[in-house]
Every structure is written in structure tokens, then in C-alpha cells.
Symmetry: C2
Subunit: 129 residues, 2 copies
DNA sequence: ATAAGTATCGCAACTATGTTGCAATAATAT
DNA sequence: ATATTATTGCAACATAGTTGCGATACTTAT
């Protein structure tokens, strides 16, 4: 079986995501690592972290992909909490407590969910843009 | 005011989306138009159709962007019906009747929603892959 | 501590997707 | 038929993500 290894780069990426209050894109993470490793390595690390259920992938309404640290105790069947994407500051945050309820359509087998709300976050709403 | 014009290319794209049972990506639409117009033109037409609320944009769990004809009578405040993305055949379909209910988080202003379910569609589920 | 096995990495090259500026074209109203 | 201007084509660019392969370095076992 393939065993997973801890490397400097992997640790750094995990740290960055742990400390971030918002979800980060590949390029944002790459910049934050500041030449620690190659661009491709970040892609591969993120893939592994997602597979290991340490990080989850979030897709914005426009197709932008971001990543956030999981806050659940390891293996979870489905990531169904909502995410909020601000049209103004473009930050994406996990809304861990917001979960959609819906009627599962007959004959469909659901194994994953993406539920993203878009609009104005509290910060930008107060700034009265 | 900017008035909108009906062109051959725009009509073709609208036709293609009207006839399709599943949502289509830019490149799929481009191939179906078969050299009718430039690649860039398709992007611009899709933008206009989305703005005019004739077509809506759907983002898959992996960030793939697709487009589907709207089935509502013109202006609608928010596209909140669910979409289903099949992991096997990669088709995305509108589930017009499935709408998520959720608790609107305090202090957030929601203006748009993306709710996509992923898994196996009825066809692929029966094929017992 | 050393060596073997292999997960991970760097690099280069590539594909896919989406955007922009500008001159040419064509839809629409008068 | 003419004027106005929305739309298009093209070329060039930007960003995102992938792949193959030889080199590197983490882990485990001796
Ligand atoms: Zn904001
Ligand atoms: Zn989250
Ligand atoms: Zn299917
Ligand atoms: Zn739809």
C-alpha cells in the first residue's frame, strides 16, 4: 500500500491552511510558501491533502477553486457545509454550521455536495460599498 | 441604453442549449457550432445570454463551467435549483424541482447560490459500473 | 548507522480555459 | 439607403492545471 510521507512542503501548506481564516487558492498558497517548492508540488500536495480528508476543495460560482482545512475529526462521508463567497472582497469562508436540507432525487446516488452562497460578507456589508 | 442584437451565432448557441438535455461547456458548444464563428465569440455570446437571464451558468465540483437554458419565465431573482453532476458520464443536469432549504447566516447578504450534487445519475447507476 | 525501497519533488513542456484591444463587419432604427 | 453602434475575428496574452521522467529525500528494516 502507498504510505504517505511528511515533507517540509506538505507541512508548510498544512500550516498555511490551518492558520488561514478563509479558503485559499493554489496561487495564494504558492505565494505564501515563498519559493519553498515548485508550483507543481503545491498542486500535488493539495491533491494528497484532499484525498486524506485533511483539506477540502471549494469551488466558487465563477469556477475559482480554493482549499480550506477540514475541522472535523478525520474521515467524514460527505462535506456538506455551506461556503460563503463575497462578491466584493472575494474571500471564501466555511459556514460550518450551515447545512442544506433537500429532497434526494429518486434514482440518483449522491456522494458529494457543493453548496456555495454568494453575496456580501458581514465586513463588506458594514462598509456600505 | 445598450440594445441587444440577434445574430446568427447567438441564435445557433441558443438553439444548441435549448435542444440539449444536459448542461454544456464552452468547448462543447464551440464544437457543436462547427466553425460558425470564433471561439471568443462563443464566450461573449454566453456572457450576454447569462446577463439576459436566458441561460444560467453552472459550476461543477471540480471547477468545470457549464451552461444550461433557463426554464423560467424571464427575470428571476436567484437561480437556486440544484444541479446533478455524474462522476461517471460527467453529464450535468438541472434538477429544477430540487431546491435547498437552509438557514440564512446572520449578517450575510445572499444574492446568488450554487448547489450541485455529485454522484451517479440514474443511467450510470443502472449500468452497475 | 547504513542501505534499500519508493513517495515526493523539480523541471520543462504541454493543454485547457478565459481575457483584452482594436479594426472590420453587420444588425437595427431613421 | 444611411448612420449608429453592437457584435465579431484575430492575434496576443494570462492563468490554471497536467504529465513524464530523472533526481531527491523520507521511512523502514537490517
Ligand atoms: Zn467581503
Ligand atoms: Zn468548508
Ligand atoms: Zn452518469
Ligand atoms: Zn439549471
Amino acid at each position: 500500500m502507498k504510505t504517505t510521507r511528511n515533507t517540509t512542503a506538505k507541512t508548510a501548506v498544512t500550516e498555511i491552511l490551518s492558520k488561514s481564516k478563509t479558503a485559499l487558492s493554489h496561487s495564494e498558497i504558492y505565494k505564501l510558501t515563498a519559493d519553498l517548492c515548485n508550483r507543481v508540488t503545491i498542486y500535488r500536495i493539495l491533491d494528497r491533502l484532499v484525498n486524506d480528508d485533511i483539506v477540502h476543495k471549494i469551488v466558487d460560482l465563477d469556477g475559482t477553486v480554493k482549499y480550506a482545512k477540514c475541522h472535523h475529526s478525520h474521515p467524514v462521508t460527505i462535506h456538506n457545509h455551506a461556503h460563503f463567497s463575497c462578491e466584493n472582497c472575494h474571500e471564501i469562508t466555511c459556514l460550518e454550521s450551515v447545512k442544506p436540507s433537500y429532497i434526494i432525487p429518486h434514482n440518483y446516488k449522491v456522494t458529494d455536495i457543493n453548496f456555495t452562497l454568494s453575496g456580501l460578507c458581514p465586513n463588506c456589508l458594514n462598509s456600505n460599498i
